[in-house]
Amino acid sequence: MKFSIVLISLLIMGCASTPTGQIEAFGIAASGVTSKIDSVISDYNEANINNKLAKMAQRSKKYTKSDLDPIRRILIRDADKKKFALYKANKALGAYAWSLSELASAGSREKISLASVKLANSLQSMNKHYKTIKNSSEDLLTDEKSSEISRVIAEFSTFYAENKRGRALKKIIIASDSQIQLIGKVINEQLLKSALESRIYSMRGTVLAGYFDDYNNKTEKRSFSDRKKALDAIYLRYVEMESTGAIVLQAQKAITSIMKAHAKLKTELEKDDFTSKEVFNVIGDIVTVHKNYDDLEELMLNCSGEVVADEKKGIICKD
């Protein structure tokens, strides 16, 4: 018995050097990023509504409810989202990343240990009951024996769980890499860049043009302070329009970081290395990009100047 305990312990110690914590970190960071891509879809929806209303307001026409009906057709509503390529692709990425992180933390030692402690307590309690029934002081199972049985079960369970988890993660990540690369590429090049960025930008431009038209029509009758106030308001719209590219660029960077990290995970797992420093670094990149994404939101809210993409510094507020 003692030999088998030592053997199992050694095997477990071997598995502990292949922690799936890196993969769990990857999953959490990547699913956080994909939730941000959803916000680009929201921006697109909002820009669609504003574009339609701005185009209406740019005409001296009378309207009724039916004039607003076309807006319904161009919106990506929650119920329709499932049909959209961008949504489907992003959702698949997010769900995949989350499932990896959940799998990487499945069958934790804590849970197994807790269950084993319960088992040891039950065995000890059974022993007490046995002695009561038999009205004897003789043990059916000593406390030491109960603990030993529970420990062996815990160790075996942990070994089995870690082994199964490691093998499954390796198989899934290696098999899914080409899909991750393809989906990431399509999201970046076709959907974010060519479809959403240019469209959101021009729709925001349509709204902005309406404000310029208003301004130009009244400019001669206005005082300097009124003109300045009006231009200040227009400038905010201009900044919003110009930041479209920065938001999309940030989303693209985030997706690229997921693609890179996944490719690195695949390479390292093919070598059976769960703990490479490079894996750690690429996961760190996703977290940084994700954090930058949050920073960008902060920047957008607080920047009194222009939000621009600087090649060296990334997304910055230019005063």
Binding site: L100, E102, K118, I133, A161, G205
Partner: protein, 107 residues
């Protein structure tokens, strides 16, 4: 440059022009802008809606991998749940045995 990007560029140029115009000329440019905008709207919608077969296949495969990861997670989590169940069962059975023994003694 994609067709949608080209359309968007022209819309941007027209938006930069019409606020400076008046009368019929302004209406004409606005009409032209709106016409292009409708085209761009349809095209953008089509682009983000329609996916290539290769993308669909990739999404399907990835969803399958997600399903596999979830199933494996459940089966791994079952290990600790089974141990906990055995513990509960042992407790219940031994308590029941004491009760039955007590009853037999009374009878």
């Amino acid at each position: 440059m994609t067709e949608l990007e080209e359309l968007s560029l022209t819309i941007n140029e027209l938006n930069d022009l019409w606020p400076l115009l008046e009368g019929e000329e302004k209406t004409r440019i606005l009409d032209e802008r709106d016409k292009l905008d409708e085209l761009a709207s349809t095209l953008a919608h089509k682009t983000i809606n329609e996916s290539e077969p290769a993308l669909n296949e990739a999404i399907e495969s990835l969803n399958e991998a997600t399903g596999l990861a979830n199933e494996t997670r459940k089966s791994i989590n079952n290990i600790s749940e089974t141990t906990a169940k055995v513990a509960r069962l042992v407790g219940k059975v031994s308590k029941a045995a004491v009760k039955v023994t007590g009853l037999i003694a009374v009878l």
